[in-house]
């Protein structure tokens, strides 16, 4: 970058290589499509929440062990976490300017989302495969 202050360099040559990472379109599309998947999953989730909120452990475990419910719950985790990972990363990139904190937050966001997904899906599969305890 030592030559970047040279008066002979044009603004265009200085901007080259500093632009988009060419991941913008895939980020946009995955945000929109995960969002579309979330519309029915959220509505199903609201009904499930109403049904399970007051139920005891055995009822809830038996409900989760039904294959369709286990699948939809897992898909809710996947779609929601893909959506949130992208959306929160966008907020971080908008408001955090310095490189190190930005990188730390983006990576931390990714780790939290993957951890939540792994915890959620493994727990659901455990109940689905072993039935109510």
């Amino acid at each position: 970058m030592s030559t970047s202050n040279s008066p002979f360099r044009t603004p265009l040559s200085r901007a080259r290589g500093l632009g988009a990472a060419h991941h913008g379109v895939s980020h946009f599309i995955s945000e929109r499509i995960s969002g579309l998947a979330l519309v029915p999953l959220f509505i199903w989730g609201a009904f499930a929440g109403i049904r399970l909120a007051g139920a005891d452990f055995d009822t809830v475990a038996a409900w989760v062990a039904i294959p369709l419910n286990a699948v939809l719950l897992s898909l809710l985790f996947v779609a929601l976490l893909v959506h949130l990972k992208n959306a929160i990363q966008l907020v971080i990139e908008d408001y955090v300017e310095a490189f190190a904190p930005k990188a730390a937050l983006v990576i931390g966001n990714l780790f939290v989302c993957i951890l939540a997904g792994a915890v959620g899906i493994v727990s659901i599969l455990k109940i689905a495969f072993t039935g109510a305890l």
Binding site: N5, P11, R14, A15, R32, G35, L36, L38, V39, F42, I43, G45, A46, G49, I50, R51, L52, A53, G54, A55, F57, D58, V60, A61, V64, L73, L76, F77, L80, L81, L84, A87, I88, V91, V112, A116, G117, V119, G120, V122, S123, I124, K126, I127, L133
Partner: protein, 135 residues
């Protein structure tokens, strides 16, 4: 900025957030970001719920006891509003992706509709839950 605009006059900065009059589309955009953070809390709570369920009846009773407290219920109601706000917002954004709904009046109207839908749908969900004895 001054370096790259060598030879050009200093560009004015964009107006600060505080000098803008609040309008619906702007409030919708800010609410959308806020609701994403509520969903973030919500998905972590959901993962905790699944983990407690997989850990057995004692852990599950402890966890649902926490969620069923007054603070837990307030949090869950806020997350319910955020969920329905996102449902409406995604539908609104999908019309934008098709190139429709950008006229200022339409955007204001759909924005108001999304906010109203979020509040009404969350209230109806909790009323049904209360009526069926879930809470």
């Amino acid at each position: 900025m001054t370096e790259t605009s060598r030879g050009l006059p200093e560009r004015p900065l964009s107006p600060h957030l505080q000098v803008w009059r609040w309008h619906i589309t702007m409030a919708c955009s800010i609410l959308h970001r806020a609701s994403l953070f509520a969903l973030y809390v919500g998905v972590l709570l959901l993962a905790g719920w699944a983990l407690s369920l997989a850990s057995g009846p004692d852990h599950y009773a402890c966890y649902t006891g926490l969620l069923g407290s007054l603070i837990g219920k307030l949090l869950l109601f806020g997350i319910t509003v955020a969920v329905f706000y996102n449902v409406g917002y995604i539908v609104r954004q999908s019309f934008w992706d098709l190139g429709k709904g950008f006229a200022p009046k339409t955007a204001d109207m759909t924005g108001l509709a999304v906010i109203a839908f979020a509040i009404v749908a969350a209230a109806v969900t909790w009323i049904i839950a209360a009526a069926t004895g879930a809470i």
